[in-house]
């Protein structure tokens, strides 16, 4: 008797679940960040959300959750410019744009464009360049909108498998697409890509989807299967669990980066292109780990 009732309940639930295609609940992203600067000493001095020359931001708005990472191009150091200034200011400006609602959830390229424009409006003459990756979750439509310029990127994991990923944008080896502001005397010589050059994509997400946004410090040192292994340990949508998983991923990547014998994805790619190298790639690592959950105020 009881089993009939419980069976009936299961069937009813399945039917109703199947019928209600539209889920009217608002979604949100529970996000945690972790990272390591390449030069640990420098990384510690910076205020939060900056790891070496990398920077990131997490922002909430009534209509959307937005996050982003930016990898400052280190080559500027040779010319007396602090590479972390550009990426940090870019990310802080994106955060401010989102908080003030000066953005459209379906256009992360718009966020990048507006932020880049604001950098040029600063009285202080900013110099430098960075990659950028922006991810926006539209709460109501349950869509994830992304824009990626350069070799940072994101993964979307559902049921233990990667269902979406970004593509790397490189001009040539180790020279990613980048937003930049150059001094006038070097204007022709410095690579400067327009925010419009970013790859954008939009797709639906479901509750429980995991989104990993990171700079190349992670992807060059940790292949997908290792990342997925770590993500399996994420069981619920608590902030603490997300934070713990993000930390373990970042730490593992950090360790692998300094392993001289490990065949990292970076080394693999180099070998495929004729360069005989082994080992990890010491680099700034920034990891933003998010899980799609229900929106609570």
């Amino acid at each position: 008797m009881l089993s009939v009732l419980s069976y009936g309940r299961l069937v009813a639930r399945a039917v109703i679940g199947g019928l209600s295609q539209t889920d009217s609940r608002d979604y949100s992203l529970v996000t945690a960040s972790c990272g390591f600067g390449k030069d640990v000493r420098r990384g510690v001095l910076k205020k939060g959300m900056c790891y070496g020359d990398d920077a990131c931001f997490i922002a909430r708005h009534r209509s959307a959750d937005v996050l982003g990472v930016a990898d400052g191009v280190g080559g500027w150091r040779d010319y007396g410019v602090d590479p972390s200034q550009f990426s940090a200011t870019l990310m802080k400006t994106c955060e401010r744009l989102v908080k003030e609602g000066r953005f459209v959830p379906s256009s992360p390229v718009g966020v990048l464009t507006a932020s880049y424009y604001e950098l040029l409006q600063n009285k202080v003459p900013l110099l430098g360049s960075s990659t950028a990756c922006i991810v926006i979750l539209d709460r109501q439509s349950h869509q994830l909108h992304t824009a990626n310029l350069g070799d940072s990127g994101f993964l979307v994991v559902r049921g233990g498998e990667v269902v979406h990923r970004s593509d790397e944008q490189q001009h040539y080896f180790n020279t990613p697409f980048q937003l930049s502001i150059a001094p006038p005397e070097a204007e022709g010589a410095v690579l400067s890509d327009s925010p419009d050059a970013a790859d954008s994509s939009s797709f639906d997400v479901q509750l429980g989807d995991i989104i990993l946004t990171a700079t190349d410090g992670l992807f060059d040192n940790m292949p997908d299967y290792m990342i997925l292994q770590e993500l399996k340990k994420l069981k619920n949508t608590n902030y603490e669990s997300v934070q713990q998983t993000a930390r373990s991923i970042a730490e593992q990547a950090h360790v692998l980066a300094y392993d001289p014998n490990y065949m990292s994805p970076f080394a693999q790619y180099a070998c495929d292109n004729g360069l005989n190298v082994r080992g990890g790639k010491p680099d700034d690592i920034t990891v933003l780990l998010s899980i799609v959950a229900e929106y609570t105020d």
Binding site: R96, R102, Y117, E118, L120, Q121, N122, K123, V124, P125
Partner: protein, 613 residues
Amino acid sequence: MLTLLSMFYYICLRRRSRSGTRGEALTSRRAVESGQRAVLPVSVEVKQYAKEVLDFSSHYGSENSMSYTMWNLAGVPNVYPSSGDFTQTAVFRAYGTWWEQCASAPLPFRRTPNDFYSQDYIELGFEEPVYPTAVEVFETYYPGAIVQILACSHNPLSQNPPTDVRWEVLWSGEPNKAPTPQARQFSPKIKHINFPTNLLRLEVNSSFLDYYTELDAVILRGVKERPMLALYKMPLIDISDLSDSEEELSDIGAPFKQGGDGKHQKTGNGYFDKLPYELIQLILSHLTLPDLCRLAQTCKLLHQHCCDPLQYTQLSLQPYWARLSDASLGHLQSRCTLLQRLNLSWAGNRGALTLTGFSSFMNACGLSLVCLEMSCCHFLNEACVEVISQTCPSLQELNLSSCDRLHPQAFTHISKLTHLRRLVLYRTKIEQTAILSILTFCTELRHLNLGSCVRIEDYDVVASMLAARCRSLCSLDLWRCRNLTDRGLTELVSGCRLLEELDLGWCPTLQSSTGCFQQLARSLPRLRKLFLTANRTICDSDVEELAACCPSLQHLDILGTRLVSLASLKKLLQSCPRLVLLDVSFCSQLDTRVVQELSGLFPKVAIKKSFTQ
């Protein structure tokens, strides 16, 4: 016995603790007595940050930007308590007296009241209307500019059109400057008013400040219920609060009472009858407009004097913007037939002035009008501008600064004003065809302001047209014109040789490597003001060329370039003895030590070096 005493004390203590704050107890007891639920205490203070910036007269930043723009004044502070020149603050377009020293500055109007200091304003909307108890302004850089705080009875968030709009001055003071440029919270003692408000207006005057003032946030504190003690705290009624000028202006229409019939009319005006007409006119020319209107009601002789059109050749209604209406213009109409200069700036918003009243006034008084200031007049529409073009054939000066709601089509009518010498279109929506049409027909232009005119598509074409048609151009403001290139600039300076003032601040497409700035210096020997703010390409050769070719230079702004060194600046300061303003903020080769050295060598020059901390 002891138990009785202890019970007694216990009861007393309980009673005392139960009473709490007396007000609270009173209201709750009253509520209980009247059988209602207990209500909140009467004096619950609500603290609000500004929700929205509704209107303002100018700002430093770009339209569509969040850097140095007025929209930053809404919301919580972004910078305070830090001090410094930050992007997240609200900054006005000008400061000090530098702009008043320029040839492009309009002449001041006569009869400006001594207590009217305001140069710029910003209007803020808050969420809930309250009876204000305090207003706090977070000033984060060079404070001291605020001269007036006003409250409005209209709720800007409501959908209803404004009716019976009243403005009340909460506080007013003189412009000054704070002893240091550091951040402060400015909270003057405000007057209590008898209506709830959620619309505040701040008016500023930065003329004493050493650099741009920057504001971060505004707090409005108030109570929802009308404070009962307010009646007792009301200050003695100020004579200037009584019957505003509008009443006087409206009383003018009323027929003047004659004392009996003509036969028995006394000519008892005493010594006034012996004074020459012109002398009384001279005396009256020193009165402010409200006083003039009040004086007109005293006797027939003075009524005749006060309504003489010769007293109204210049009329500034800007100090009375809050109280001006169609009716006021109607009553002034008969006296303004000889009007030459009219200032209606800031007036007429929220339905106070309409096309009907305005066109009636212009039809009556526009014939001899030479100067018309209509900055921030949001009641203006295309029809009004058409009226101006039809009724003011001799107009030489027209100021439509910040009339940003004016439709682009309206500007086409300005080309009919062929005698125009000064035209200010700062922050308007004028488009390419309209400005080219104006430049084709208004060939006598001496002063043109196209600052932040974002709808103009190709500034090179505009520059070319100026060079061809407006050869007597004396000052040109192209602040933030986004696509002027060296081609346009070179054409401009080759055609307009009489240029004395040129503002090319924040024009990103001008490159020094093309030699356009050196060409500029060589072509404009009369140059007195040059702003090259945030042009990151300005270099030593440009400064040296200016030193060699422009000895009359007075104001120079080269903010934000990394390529200018101490040596070339020294040359400039030696060759330009009249230089009084030099802005080298954010020039990386010129740190504070260098600036101090220069200031020591050239004490007459105000060398500006802004900072972010």
